[in-house]
Each structure stands twice: as structure tokens, then as C-alpha cells.
């Protein structure tokens, strides 16, 4: 019993540097900005009383809620949208991070429950990730918050309990195991034709796959079973430290393929963003510091007067050339 308790403590609460969390926060913040902007062209159509869903759903399943279900006016929707956009930017740069993450979550939930006909699994995943992010010390590093409280130690990554990050990791695993389970109940996945059917849905296509591939039974069979295999590996082997980088690379490749071939919104982007939670703090720290070194070097080159003088002979030569 003691060993189980110790393992529990280690898994959820043993402090870890917050470098992976910081990168994850920045990427999710950027996705939230993009998500908000993607709503802008049709905002009136989807969220006003003159649009395609003029009123919020009347019969909501028990527990579902949303600001726009309580206050269904378009003015509130606009205010919430502006709050979402500002809070997403704040989340990205880590300014008042906790408050920003709460505002982002409340806004995402509220929009999704106001007009449920326009969302796919990617939108649901983003909502879930935003929920977990509220509980994470997401502003502890690489943030304006850090700059304001400990400027002299901005490039340090204070260690914190990673339990919120662990929830995202578990969620990633659940997504893949659950989808494999659902797929194994369909004959198209068992017969190897599923990828062909999905790729030929022309109403969903982004960049159409050549028909010689999408209509090929051999290609479809290989890709269908490969997809199931990758998803199963992502669900299980992602917990194995040695297999993790390979499994995540396969997953990122699969989602790049999905993202290029189908109009699924932010599904692939959000899914791949969740992989960042599996990045070891040491690796994440190394990445951040490498970026910092490059930025410093670029900054030094910009400040170097030789850089300016190097331009001068070229300019003079240019001017002295006959017209």
C-alpha cells in the first residue's frame, strides 16, 4: 500500500521544471487565437438571433452550461468574443495567466454550448485542454508573469507539481484508445476500406489525394491498418520512455496527413499540441535555451555596427552605377 501511495505521489506531485508546460501554454494560446479568428467571418450567422441557430438549445443534457445560454444576447456574445481574443493573447504571452486561462475556458465552453451544430472533435479537445490548463501553473515560466515577478531569473524554470499536465497526458491516451475501440466496431476499419472512404469525402477535402491512391484498395488497406496501429501505439506506448519519441513522431506524421487532406479545423493542431506535454522538461529546457541563444546571437548581429557598415559599400556602389 505504501508503495502505491509513493508511486501516486511521484506521478502526480513530484515537482518538475515547468519548461514543457510553458511551451505547451504558448502553443495552446496561439491555437486559441486562431480558433477565435476562425469564428470571426461567420460570428453573426452562428451566434445572433438572426442566424442559423437563433436560440441556444432548449433541452440541454444535465450539467451543460454556458454564459450565452444564460444571457443569449448578441451583445454578450460580442463581449465574450473580445474577452476570448484578449485572454488568448494573454495566455500566449503568459500575462495574468491564471485569469486568462479561466476566461478562455469559460468562453470556449459558452460558444460551444450556444451553437452545438458547428463543432467537431477538435473543438471538444481544445475545450478539454483549456480546462486542464486552468489548474496548471502555466505562467510559472516564459511568461510576462515571470518577467514581472522574477525578471532576474526569467530563463529559469521553477519546479512545480505536474498533475494538471498529467491529466492532459492521460486524456491523450484516452482519445486514441477510445477511437480505436469505436473503430474496431466498424466493418470498414476491419476490411481496410475506411481511409479510402474518408479521403474521398469531397465535401470535407482540403487538398484532394490523387485518385490513384484514394481509390486503391491496397493503399487504403495499408493506410487503414497503419492508422489503427499508430493510434493504438499512441494510446499505450506513449507511456514507455524509450518508445515515446518514435510514437509521437508517427502520430505527428499521421495528423499532418489528416490536416492536409481534410477540413477538420483545429483538430490535428490541438492533438499535436497535446504531445508537447510528453516532452521531457530537460528536452524542453534545451529547446528553449537553444532558441534563446539564437535570438541573442541574432540580436547581437543587429546591434553590431559592422553590420551597418557592411551595407555601405554596397549602397555606394549601387548609387554610383550609371542609370
Amino acid at each position: 500500500m505504501k508503495r502505491v501511495a509513493a508511486a501516486w505521489e511521484r506521478f502526480w506531485f513530484a515537482p518538475e521544471p515547468t519548461s514543457s508546460l510553458a511551451i505547451f501554454r504558448i502553443v495552446i494560446g496561439v491555437i486559441c487565437v486562431g480558433w477565435a479568428l476562425s469564428l470571426l467571418p461567420d460570428f453573426y450567422v452562428f451566434f445572433s438571433s438572426h442566424g442559423v441557430e437563433p436560440v441556444p438549445p432548449v433541452h440541454m443534457p444535465l450539467g451543460l452550461w454556458g454564459v450565452l445560454n444564460i444571457f443569449p444576447s448578441f451583445t454578450v456574445a460580442v463581449a465574450l468574443y473580445l474577452a476570448l481574443l484578449v485572454a488568448s493573447c494573454c495566455l500566449t504571452v503568459g500575462y495574468r495567466t491564471r485569469l486568462a486561462s479561466v476566461v478562455v475556458f469559460v468562453a470556449v465552453v459558452s460558444f460551444e454550448n450556444r451553437a452545438p451544430s458547428i463543432w467537431n472533435s477538435g473543438d471538444g479537445l481544445l475545450r478539454i485542454v483549456c480546462f486542464f490548463l486552468m489548474f496548471a501553473p502555466a505562467g510559472a515560466a516564459l511568461s510576462v508573469d515571470r518577467w514581472r515577478t522574477a525578471r532576474d531569473r526569467f530563463w529559469e524554470f521553477p519546479a512545480r507539481a505536474p498533475w494538471a499536465l498529467r491529466l492532459v497526458q492521460i486524456q491523450v491516451s484516452v482519445v486514441y484508445l477510445s477511437t480505436v475501440w469505436f473503430k474496431l466496431h466498424g466493418t470498414d476499419w476491419l476490411h481496410g476500406t475506411a481511409v479510402s472512404y474518408a479521403a474521398r469525402l469531397e465535401d470535407f477535402q482540403r487538398y484532394a489525394m490523387p485518385s490513384i491512391l484514394s481509390h486503391s484498395l491496397l493503399f487504403s488497406t495499408v493506410m487503414t491498418y497503419w492508422t489503427l496501429a499508430i493510434e493504438l501505439m499512441l494510446g499505450i506506448l506513449v507511456w514507455n520512455r524509450a518508445a515515446r519519441p518514435y510514437v509521437l513522431a508517427l502520430g505527428a506524421g499521421m495528423h499532418l496527413f489528416i490536416s492536409l487532406s481534410m477540413r477538420l479545423g483545429f483538430f490535428s493542431e490541438t492533438m499535436v499540441a497535446t504531445y508537447l506535454t510528453f516532452l521531457s522538461p530537460a528536452a524542453a529546457t534545451a529547446v528553449v535555451l537553444a532558441v534563446r541563444r539564437r535570438l541573442n546571437a541574432a540580436g547581437a548581429r543587429m546591434r553590431d555596427p559592422q553590420w551597418i557598415s557592411a551595407l555601405r559599400p554596397h549602397r555606394e556602389r549601387e548609387w554610383s552605377e550609371p542609370a
Binding site: P41, P158, T179, L201
Partner: protein, 197 residues
């Protein structure tokens, strides 16, 4: 000059500036018990709703789903499962005017790169807004507001629509590997007409 020593600290050295509420909670035994309770309930509820329905006792499922709804964690990962849709779906609205002329409205389609993000919302909407007998993804409650919205878009000075008809244009994909065409011809099914005064 380096402004500060670059390190990845393995311990928190912020204590001099005062720790946040969460950090203090995590540092105390009682706090960790509290968080552990939240973790058990949350992970348990996620697991329960993703397990096959037959394997979960009904009373547990009845509690887990409202908990996930309330926390915004409701989920169902059945994209393209148990089988991908094989019906290619398009939606059109035919708008008839008093003088007899007809215009056609279609949901907007953007460029593949950036427009694809906007389009995803419309593609999902179309899946719900077209008639699909026996399919729980079809939501007839969207038909009337959609027709009214289209009518409002097509109303211009001097010309008011007298009716809006929603039409499903669809074709079925044929199994891969065949020698002939890869889908059936498109078929049009008018499924809802809104008459306007």
C-alpha cells in the same frame, strides 16, 4: 552581456517572493489529498464515459456524465468511427422570388489553407442540417432557422423571396478498388420548404 545566469532549476526558488495558493496547497498533505480526490473523480469519470456502455454500472454512468458536462470535459471520440461517412453531402437553398426567378444559396467555402479553418464549422453544420433519415447526426430543428436566414440574405430592395427550399445534393462512395467510377451520380433531394408571406 548575459543578463542572468541561464539555468533550468530543479527546485523552486521563488519562496522568497511568497508562494501562490496552489503551490501551498500542493505542498501540504491535506492539499494533496484534496487534489487527489479531484484527480480520482475526474480520471474515473473520463474512463467511465469512454468505456463500453455494457461494462459500466448504470448508476455510475448516470453520475459521471453530468460531472463531465458540468466541468466541460464531456467527450466522445468516435470520429470516422465505427465507420466513416460514405455519403458526400452538399447543401443548397433554392430561393424563389415573386417574379418567378430563382437563386441558389450555398454555405461559404474558403481557400484550402486558411479558409479551411472557417469551413470546418460550415461542414459540420451541413452534416447536421441536411436530411439523413435514421441518422442521429441530422437535426431537423435547424431547417427552419436556416431557411429564414437564407431568406434574409436574399432579400434585397424590390425583391422579396416567396419561398426557400432546402435541397440535399448527395452521392454515395463506391468501395475502393473497383474499375468503374468511385461514386454514384449526385442526387438532389428537396427536403424542406419555407413559404414566406
Amino acid at each position: 552581456m548575459m543578463a542572468s545566469q541561464v539555468t533550468a532549476s530543479s527546485t523552486d526558488r521563488d519562496s522568497g517572493r511568497g508562494l501562490g495558493f496552489q503551490h501551498r496547497l500542493e505542498a501540504s498533505r491535506a492539499g494533496r489529498w484534496l487534489i487527489s480526490g479531484f484527480l480520482v473523480v475526474t480520471v474515473g469519470a473520463i474512463a467511465v464515459t469512454n468505456l463500453p456502455a455494457w461494462s459500466v454500472p448504470r448508476p455510475i454512468a448516470k453520475v459521471a456524465q453530468p460531472y463531465l458536462n458540468a466541468t466541460g470535459l464531456d467527450q466522445r471520440w468516435n470520429m470516422f468511427a465505427p465507420a466513416p461517412r460514405t455519403e458526400i453531402l452538399y447543401l443548397e437553398a433554392r430561393v424563389e422570388f415573386a417574379d418567378g426567378h430563382v437563386t441558389v444559396w450555398r454555405p461559404p467555402t474558403g481557400d484550402p489553407l486558411l479558409g479551411g479553418y472557417r469551413d470546418a464549422h460550415w461542414r459540420k453544420f451541413v452534416e447536421h442540417a441536411v436530411v439523413r433519415p435514421g441518422n442521429s447526426d441530422a437535426w431537423p430543428q435547424l431547417w427552419d432557422p436556416l431557411a429564414r436566414y437564407v431568406a434574409s440574405q436574399e432579400t434585397h430592395e424590390g425583391s422579396r423571396p416567396v419561398s426557400v427550399t432546402l435541397v440535399k445534393r448527395s452521392a454515395f462512395e463506391l468501395p475502393p478498388g473497383g474499375r468503374g467510377p468511385d461514386r454514384t451520380p449526385f442526387r438532389e433531394v428537396p427536403y424542406y420548404t419555407l413559404r414566406l408571406p
